[in-house]
């Protein structure tokens, strides 16, 4: 199996938790993932997600059970907020409606639009 970035596993685990109708224990999450991962890998990532506040932990017998603490759309919003604060190479990976303008671009654009209004 090829190595995947941690972010991808975090997203996969969040998806399992969003689809689940009750809190899940790490072993159950691992079963749903069906990626042949070690129990400790899943438990570690669940711990990290808890620390980030994306997942809630409740005691269930000897182990903990986990459920999603944020709705699905909020995660996207959080990643987007990260993007907006981030370096150019994160911004470059997105398709933007308009890029930023230089002062010269802005002047050229105003001229074009003025021409458009007059016709």
């Amino acid at each position: 199996m090829s190595r995947r970035p941690d972010g991808a596993l975090e997203t996969d685990i969040m998806k399992v938790l969003w689809r689940a109708d009750r809190p899940l224990q790490p072993a159950e999450v691992n079963e749903h993932l069906d990626q042949g991962l070690a129990y400790t890998t899943v438990a570690t990532v669940l711990g990290r997600l808890t620390a980030k506040g994306l997942v809630e932990r409740t005691e269930a017998g000897r182990a903990y059970a986990y459920s999603a603490a944020v709705p699905e759309a909020a995660l996207a919003g959080r990643r987007i907020a990260e993007v907006l604060e981030a370096t150019p190479d994160r911004r470059e990976a997105l398709s933007w409606f308009v890029g930023s303008l230089s002062a010269k671009d802005a002047r050229a654009l105003r001229r074009l639009l003025d021409g458009l209004e007059q016709t």
Binding site: I80, L94, V98, S102, D105
Partner: protein, 291 residues
């Protein structure tokens, strides 16, 4: 230097210059594909040359005793000394380029959003809209953008962004970033690829609203509505003014079929010439696996 490693590279560079010259005269979707293919061809032609030069240089450097001699033998470059300047430059670009290309892929994967697409309005005081990479095509608009634009204009923005998602423009964008990270000389071509992608989406939006001038006006309003000009500066002539001008001009007509066929023939021929480079790797493979 061995002519067989340089000839494909010269061919690929000539192709890159030619495509740079004609991309605006092609309809945007065709221009996008031509530029993206050219970028891949340049990479295939340049990467083996760069690593061969690097290995040949290392094999003749004082480091040779520390284990680089075998790779020079494996590549068949042990009899070709490389000037120090060229060797150092080539080693630098090879290593830094690989690292940057890996980082570009990683950024793309971190931002990927594969679950079914949706539209999200994000509270922000700058007007902007973008599409996340991935199959999902998740579109984000800022609240400042929805305040600035009326329903029709918002429809234009959405048509533009869904075109990015539907035609998987994130894949072309990934090609642009990975190849231009690996080979910085490709940056002007990457800027042209990005421009063609935006033009493509602009034309889709224009078709869906039926008025190119309305799309031009919407682009202009959003661009001028941003109060900061910081961020990634666009290449001269490839920014929003150029897109607005293109929308106000008559649409680019699709060239005659024969011309398109000839263009692809040249691209494919150069690609084959570049692929010929890969035979250098067979020497490495046989050195690693003697059987």
């Amino acid at each position: 230097m061995n002519p067989s490693t340089v000839a494909p590279l010269i061919g690929a560079i000539a192709l890159a210059i030619a495509v740079t010259g004609i991309h605006r005269r092609l309809p945007p979707a065709l221009a996008t594909r031509a530029v993206a293919t050219t970028m891949v061809v340049v990479v295939i032609a340049a990467i083996p040359t760069m690593w061969l030069t690097t290995f040949a240089f290392l094999a003749h450097s004082p480091l040779a005793d520390s284990g680089f001699a075998w790779c020079a033998k494996a590549f068949g470059v042990h009899h070709q000394p490389v000037p120090t300047g060229l060797g150092v430059a080539s080693a630098f670009v090879a290593v830094v380029g690989t690292w940057r290309a890996i980082r570009a892929v990683r950024t793309h994967r971190q931002l990927r959003h594969d679950y079914p697409g949706s539209i999200e309005v994000l509270g922000h005081d700058q007007p902007f809209a973008f599409t996340l990479p991935g199959r999902g095509g998740h579109i984000v608009m800022s609240s400042a953008l929805t305040d600035l634009l009326d329903d029709n204009e918002q429809g234009i923005v959405l048509a533009h962004e869904s075109a990015h998602a539907r035609h998987r423009h994130d894949r072309f964008l990934l090609i642009a970033h990975v190849t231009s990270s690996a080979i910085p000389l490709l940056r002007p071509l990457a800027a042209r690829l990005e421009y063609s992608l935006e033009r493509w989406a602009d034309e889709v939006a224009a078709r869906s609203c039926g008025d190119r001038r309305k799309v031009a006006r919407t682009l202009g309003r959003v661009a001028l509505g941003q109060f900061s000009t910081a961020g990634v500066a666009s290449f001269a002539g490839l920014g929003v003014p150029a897109r607005v001008a293109a929308l106000l001009a008559p649409p680019v007509r699709r060239p005659h079929r024969g011309i398109i066929a000839a263009m692809w023939l040249v691209i494919v021929a150069t690609a084959f010439l570049a692929l010929f480079q890969l035979h250098h790797l067979s020497a490495l493979v046989s050195a690693l696996c003697p059987d």
